[in-house]
Symmetry: C2
Subunit: 661 residues, 2 copies
């Protein structure tokens, strides 16, 4: 027995990080030939985009895949970034766990110091060939070019051949690698990956030349760089006890107050003192002497003291407008019938790292009704192609009861079915991936909850749209039947009794007994014309309030067919419609100026001051305009504060436009 | 621009492996409080079981979880393994990428050199407290005890306090760690994890004391150790070009023949020469001089030369019998109605690593009919609790069209619904996990294909069972109706016409027109009695062949009610039933001896030599007994080689028992 313990002890050995990943290459995304090729493209393109953005350059990335033999391909990725200095080339491309972005908290695609070096290693393992790098920085006349070979036992790379060469390019980097792979088309393909990159990087131009040699270009849809993102200190919420002790040990600050103030974001000196008071620690104590109990006291105090939310300028969400625009740009062929207004949530924190969640939903058109919804996942503007089932975004989608929002879903759990695409983007100074292959976001509760909230908010907008569409289509059918049958009955009866055919307009109105709301947005060259028509198909004169959510500063006031009674927050607009006689039509119309077609192409119309049962084509305004909190009830209507008698409780602000008639 | 390249260069830094994982602790399985606690238990128990098995000791593992404060828990895991020598304690428990099993090819739970050290690191990060280890090896009188603290910047641990202490235990290791976590019950819990461990480690006893202090024991269900597994050399199939070059560079062999012969498994000197001939390489060439083209030649030659399948004694599958026994043992409360005979496939190879896939299916009883099937995933006898969606086992299940095997599944893709548990176990000298948390098997095509084949083979057995059950239940309904109505009609008619009630037995037979097969296995204290009854409910005398698959060496020959006409391969048994008169019953019966109840509790009965349309309760024998290849047709019948006239084409071997009547 003892000899076994000693024998086992003898076998204990250190493992070099590159040996580890050489043997576990599937962890890095090289588990199948198809995926290996996509991973190689992904890691190289990530690096190129990060480099360009670090240097404030609009990215122009060339991706080329050549077939060398049966399952050997050559991947070439070239960018117009700032270039890499000669000395760093072997480190950037041939050394695992080495990089510039690991020790900073900033929203970057690469954060691990593994990516592209792993591609070099995989290429070498599978083909035995070195990778080739050419790089030029703009204050030098020539480019540096080399062929790199990695020693995986030592985790170091060596240039087996290098030289300075002429390169017409002003600056940039070109990376070429041979690897065993498989080029495919379809859902998980290089093409789809690059399409995803284009959706979330509207400022990048990507030129892709597949093995057949026919280049295609994903043109940038904006010339504006995303706002530059700052590095930040950790936010105190979510910092772990052991991390705090470690930080206190290594800080250069001499006092606890300055330690908290300088090492964390959002801790002013005043807040630092408040925290230390609560934790009963002296302001002047040396941080290095912080003990376990005291650290626990600080962690507890942080929960009680009011600390500002994390800075947002360290994050670069895509933004609600651009998500919609990009989706339309790239998904043109699916001709979806509805693009739900995307949701960008406020930043939140997990483990000291700020993050923000964005969601968009596309519905209808030529999307399949029989299949599960398509999920487009993104993290820091990088498309996630694999391991969908392990991703917090997927788990968020599975946790939402989509039956309430108009999609099919067995048991109210799991991925819903229906003609929809759900886009989820998580941006953070630190994306908690489940593995080094960076394909799935770990199920961190804070993140998953935000994803669920964003999904629900966006899904409500889908539901409102579907409700409106469904109610209209049902009533339209009734309309058509009534308009067809009643005149026929009238004619037949008249013929039988030998009398003239009676006027039946009033009869039809009586049978229908609804106010029909029809709204549209018409885009033409110069203007966006909005029209809301109210058809009074009831036997009584009607009055009501019409409410819309729109960018009121973009409304051409001259074009207004009726002055609004009230405009709140620059976007919540109310009109008082005083009188519509039976069978009359009232039209509310105006033009919008300077609005992008993709930004405003669907009206949000609500009504109040009228029996909700008689309204078709618009939802009832919930109390207090609190649209974020509309609960969609089982039968599909929006449960506002409509009281039993069918009248809405109209809140104070809206009473301005009370019953003047 | 240039300054940016230089600035970026300055930020480039090496990242220590423990810093990397400190910041990416979710990769190690610490992404939520609940999972953190399970991961800690899992890594410690894995280590304990591996250590016991290395030393040939039946494992006796104690797991204890104590609640220390709101979300701080203390995890204690103690084993009766061989112990760890003092010098190695800081390495085993406090150093990432360090271990005894990384450089060997053998089926072990731990292969990465990360697991338990990651637990120590996580505990320290979240609580600031050191881990405590006590270990005793059997040739020493005292145990070594220490408290370990890790320096994550250096990836080294230090004993902050250590001592030799008295421990009544002969040998073993006790590990205690405080960590931030959450103890829960339910599907993903420590209890369920340990239950899973018990299913696939029937030789281990596990005692679990949850925070409420009420200890429970998973008793071992066998006293036999699994056969010890050998370390193996890589199998030449699937070795990559670059790996081959690397191996040739570092080998101690002086000639290519001995290099291939000593560094790979299943390459004899003869095979080595054959490979070298094909690749046009001299037998005596020094391996270190192997060039790229030559290496490619060897890779190609390996595909052409016939090389034996990998050794199987490096693998320790659970085995068909024990899977069934364990499932029954642990799943008693679900009272499933059917345990499909498990499938253990032949070993295959991926990337030079042998692996074997095992599948079991449990059906019916109190399992829910409304939910997705439950999936029990295992790798090297370790239950996988998280990241189900990312796992090759799940993808294998999703790729099977379960509608053909009697489960509901929308569109024939995705996880099926129904009252079933599907167990998949993959054993390999190298499990390709998707991440260091070892919760999902990467989607390696070779493995996924084996999983699908195993699932289909097991699913066919489920389908056969369901077919039989469904046909019987349908015919039984018909029977009951006929037996109730015909006599009533007879009575009524007799009464109306004033005549005596006629004998209607023949009439019922005419209407039913089937041969009813009813089989059963009765277990009592001493014997297993098998009975197959044939009811001739047709108006004609019938003859037929009955075929069964059973361990014929276990049949008590004295008990046979009819001598078989043929026994093939020791298990394919055929009887010739020469004559059953209308309304007669024929019984075929015998006893089995020395068979475990769990191993044989369902008969596989087939018929031939009779119109298949008139048989209820047994499937038609496919041509050539080729049961692995039965295609289940849409209407649920087995499509053998039944010809159009309803007669089966009986193959040569079976003609021995031809028409003697």
């Amino acid at each position: 027995m003892a000899s076994i313990a000693h024998e086992l002890a003898k076998k204990q050995k250190e493992i070099s990080v590159s040996e580890f990943f050489e043997k576990n290459k599937h962890i890095l995304g090289f588990d199948s030939l198809t995926r290996a090729l996509i991973t190689a493209v992904k890691e190289s393109v990530d690096n190129s985009l990060d480099a360009c953005e670090d240097a404030g350059i609009l990215p122009d990335v060339l991706v080329r895949i050549d077939k060398e033999s049966n399952n050997e391909y050559r991947v070439t990725v070239e960018d117009n970034g700032p270039g890499i200095v000669k000395k760093q080339v072997p480190n950037v491309f041939g050394r695992l766990l080495y990089g510039s972005r690991f020790h900073t908290r900033a929203q970057r695609r690469g954060q691990q110091g593994i990516g592209v070096s792993a591609v070099v290693m995989y290429g070498q393992i599978t083909t035995g060939k070195p990778a080739k790098i050419k790089s030029k920085i703009s204050d030098e006349d020539v480019a540096y070019e080399c062929e790199l070979v990695m020693d995986t036992k030592k985790n170091r790379a060596q240039a087996v051949r290098d030289d300075f060469v002429i390169w017409e390019k002003e600056h940039g980097t070109r990376f070429e690698v041979n690897l065993k792979g498989k080029y495919v088309q379809g859902k998980q393909s290089t093409f789809e990956y690059l399409k995803g990159v284009a959706i979330v990087n509207p400022h990048a131009r990507i030129t892709f030349t597949p093995p057949d040699g026919k280049a295609m270009v994903f043109e940038r849809s904006t010339e504006e760089m995303p706002p530059p993102t700052r590095e930040v200190k950790p936010h105190p919420e979510g910092v772990e006890l052991g991390e705090l002790l470690n930080m206190a040990k290594y800080t250069e600050a001499k006092k606890m107050t300055s330690f908290l103030n300088t090492e964390f974001s959002r801790i002013s000196l005043r807040v630092a003192r408040e925290i230390l008071d609560k934790a009963e620690i002296s302001y002047d104590q040396r941080p290095s002497r912080l003990n376990l109990d005291q650290a626990g006291g600080i962690i507890d105090a942080v929960k009680e003291v009011k600390i500002m939310s994390p800075e947002t300028d360290c994050l670069s969400p895509i933004g609600e407008g651009l998500i919609r625009k990009s989706l339309k740009n790239v998904l043109g062929e699916a001709r979806a019938s509805f693009y739900a207004p995307p949701i960008t949530r406020e930043p939140k924190v997990f483990g000291g790292n700020p993050f923000v969640v964005e969601v968009g939903i596309v519905y209808g058109g030529q999307l399949s009704r029989e299949d599960p919804v398509q999920i487009f996942r993104f993290a820091n503007r990088v498309p996630l192609m694999y391991q969908q089932g392990a991703c917090a975004t997927t788990q968020g989608i599975e946790n939402v009861d989509w039956r309430r929002y108009g999609l099919e879903q067995r048991g109210g759990k799991g991925i819903p079915y229906g003609p929809a695409i759900i886009l989820v983007h998580v941006a953070s100074t630190k994306i908690p991936f489940t593995s080094e292959s960076k394909e799935a976001i770990a199920n961190v509760p804070e993140i998953r909850e935000e994803i669920e909230l964003a999904l629900k908010a966006c899904a409500r907008k889908l539901k409102t749209h579907l409700n409106k569409a469904e109610k209209k289509s049902k009533t339209r059918v009734k309309f058509e039947i009534v308009q067809e049958i009643i005149p026929m009955i009238a004619q037949k009866s008249a013929k039988i009794v030998g009398k003239p055919v009676p006027d039946i307009a009033g009869t039809i109105t009586k049978i229908m007994n609804v106010v029909w709301v029809e709204d549209e947005v018409v885009h033409d060259k110069k203007r966006h014309h909005v029209s809301v028509k109210l058809y009074n198909y009831t036997p009584k004169t009607q009055k009501m309030h019409i409410h819309m959510i729109l960018p009121y500063d973009k409304v051409d006031e001259k074009s207004l067919s009726l002055e609004p009674a009230e405009v709140r927050d620059g976007s919540k607009v109310t009109w008082n419609i005083k009188k519509i006689a039976p069978t009359d039509i009232f039209e509310l119309a105006f033009d919008l100026k300077g609005v992008d077609k993709d930004e405003y192409d669907d009206n949000e119309v609500f009504v109040s001051g009228i029996d909700p049962a008689s309204i078709i084509g618009a939802d009832v305004l919930p109390g207090d305009w609190d649209l974020e909190h509309i609960t969609i009830t089982e039968n599909g209507g929006a449960a506002g504060e409509a009281s039993d008698n069918g009248e809405i409780d109209y809140d104070e602000g809206a009473e301005v436009i009370g019953d003047e008639e």
